[in-house]
Symmetry: none
Subunit: 410 residues, 2 copies
Amino acid sequence: MDRRKILLLIFDGLGDRPIAELGRQTPLQAARKEHLDWFAANGINGLVDPIAPGVRPGSDTSHLALFGYDPIQVYTGRGPFEAAGVGIPVKEGDIAFRANFATMDAGMRVTDRRAGRIREGTGDLAKALDGLDLGGGVRVLFRAGTEHRAALVLRGPGLTPHVSDPDPHDEGAKVLSAKATAPDGAATAKALNAFMEKSHKILKSHPVNIAREKAGKHPANAVLLRGAGIVPHLEPLGTRIGMKAAGIAGVALIKGMFRAAGMEVLEVEGATGGLDTDMVAKARAAVDALKKYDLVIVNVKAPDVCGHDGLANEKVRTVERIDAMMAVLKADLGPDTVLAATADHSTPVSLKDHSGDPVPVVVFGEGVRVDDVTRFDELSAARGGLGRILGRDLMPILLNVSNRAEKFGA
Amino acid sequence: MDRRKILLLIFDGLGDRPIAELGRQTPLQAARKEHLDWFAANGINGLVDPIAPGVRPGSDTSHLALFGYDPIQVYTGRGPFEAAGVGIPVKEGDIAFRANFATMDAGMRVTDRRAGRIREGTGDLAKALDGLDLGGGVRVLFRAGTEHRAALVLRGPGLTPHVSDPDPHDEGAKVLSAKATAPDGAATAKALNAFMEKSHKILKSHPVNIAREKAGKHPANAVLLRGAGIVPHLEPLGTRIGMKAAGIAGVALIKGMFRAAGMEVLEVEGATGGLDTDMVAKARAAVDALKKYDLVIVNVKAPDVCGHDGLANEKVRTVERIDAMMAVLKADLGPDTVLAATADHSTPVSLKDHSGDPVPVVVFGEGVRVDDVTRFDELSAARGGLGRILGRDLMPILLNVSNRAEKFGA
């Protein structure tokens, strides 16, 4: 049996609902996309419920499912993936928090939740906090994200996610003392409160902040923390399915998902995670990566951005740019590769948010049972040979098509 | 996000198999039904396995599934829903029994299982038994149903459903002493036996029975009990999905299902649960109810009656009467309502009983991805955009379409 490689393309938020502005078509139906349609015509198609029928997925839970994990079993919250996304090497049992650099007055009152939307110097500020010893064997891992965003991880004995947020969530309110929300949260609350005190001391006298104050800008003299989440045990994807796996994504959260699943993250110049992302560069990088890796997963964030922003025509154009990416893959992918293209969820332009509508999927490669679907869209896919499947079924289906599935029974 | 209301129509036993008498069509295929087909043509269609593929559902388990519960998790037997259906305000942990008024001779032998199909006076007889104290803190809740039927609920400490039936099930046999079928059934058996003794004493000297004997009719001097079932915990549907929910049905069992799910039961004049039911009145009542409630579920029993009675042409006519109901809904439903029409199971005319064949479903409303199905029947539905779904997936799908689904993940 010839084992094949797998390229899984996840077009973030690609699914949609009929849009009046597009003649009651979805962006996929309205777009010109001969290459996407070529894959549909030469592959097997179906509908995917990322989590379950009607369930509205987050990007985190749906990616877990498309990687082949059961999200209901393993998901503990977004924090751990955000932390991994900004580069913290998270380990099972770590407690992760979403963090903001903020401005606090002398009375511990939050005067600016985003520290003047600070952009410069956050890396230096983060470095000053990273590695702090909070006592009791608890150590800090801290990294800056985009703008005022950052992530904190606490590592040490006896930590749990059962603590209240120090973040008061409102401007003008005082930073809160963390409290255990269950008896086993005491050590974490103590460590968090120690962090709040030590970090404030370090930040307020940090050169970056002294310079900001001189320039009349809000100093980033506090860190607001929220959403404690324990890093779950995820058996590394590569081990689980016996493949060397790598991921390509522009946005930090998805990079964090790849890292949490034990995959290598490949950086691609021009892959921004925005509407201006260089999709063709991503396609070329994927083709390249398949020389070294058995499984490559690519996330393209742009359609989700159009959905959240309610931009119907921009979403159509994004599909057409995706089509250019598919042209490259059609030309350059070797016959030893199985390609699958799908979405992590629908982000209907009319909703400006994720919905529980299923998304189309096409699987293309040698050995696939080619059905008579000729277009890649939400309704054509419903008549495809794959029927309606769950997100977590896709990876086993791809392992089967690539002749890598383990036999259950004898 | 615009939240919409939901109208769920459950046509009881509507699904069927090809019938020779109808030219090997199903009643849905044979009937003239332009309005049902209009909804199919303007909605998204699919097939529903109420419980699971090939599983033959009861009306109780399938309604639980269509309400969005997992019937395999929550179902404990039909008794509790029958009891709720005749108006007993059941509570979690109550033990419910199906009951018959019957005639017993002096030797405790059952001489008529239906007490001459008694119709009059059962309410008075029930009242004489309701509230009985059986000792050990166990109290009786008793209500009459249709004809000789009734329901008993035992409420008190230490009760379980692990008891044998006092009902001997055969005429000429003696009423049985209830026995524990597991060690924890002793208290229930004791209470049941106390009920048998006390109820017989009360009933035999009750004026209703004295009058019956004078008129040469069989007295209802005993209550036969069978099918002990514990009332399960059902999180009220309204709480579960955050909607104010009401149900419309002619038959007691379905009313009991609504009540057990914490829904309001709306009475509609002319809604009998029989072939003579006024379906248009039900449609109008549903339109009205949607002004006050977010979710309205309507059960129409007539097609099931035709199936059980083996009446092919009558089932065709019933579909045509359903179509008149759909005409009203097509005209009067507001654009803020999502409509779904399906069945709780198939009741093929050729079987005169429920079958495990899947049933068609159509979902209609703003935002739905309209497929190219143009007829509402078992085979057209199979090519629809919803594919093949489980009964318990329908409510999440409706919550999604009505923009009420919770996000899982971030």
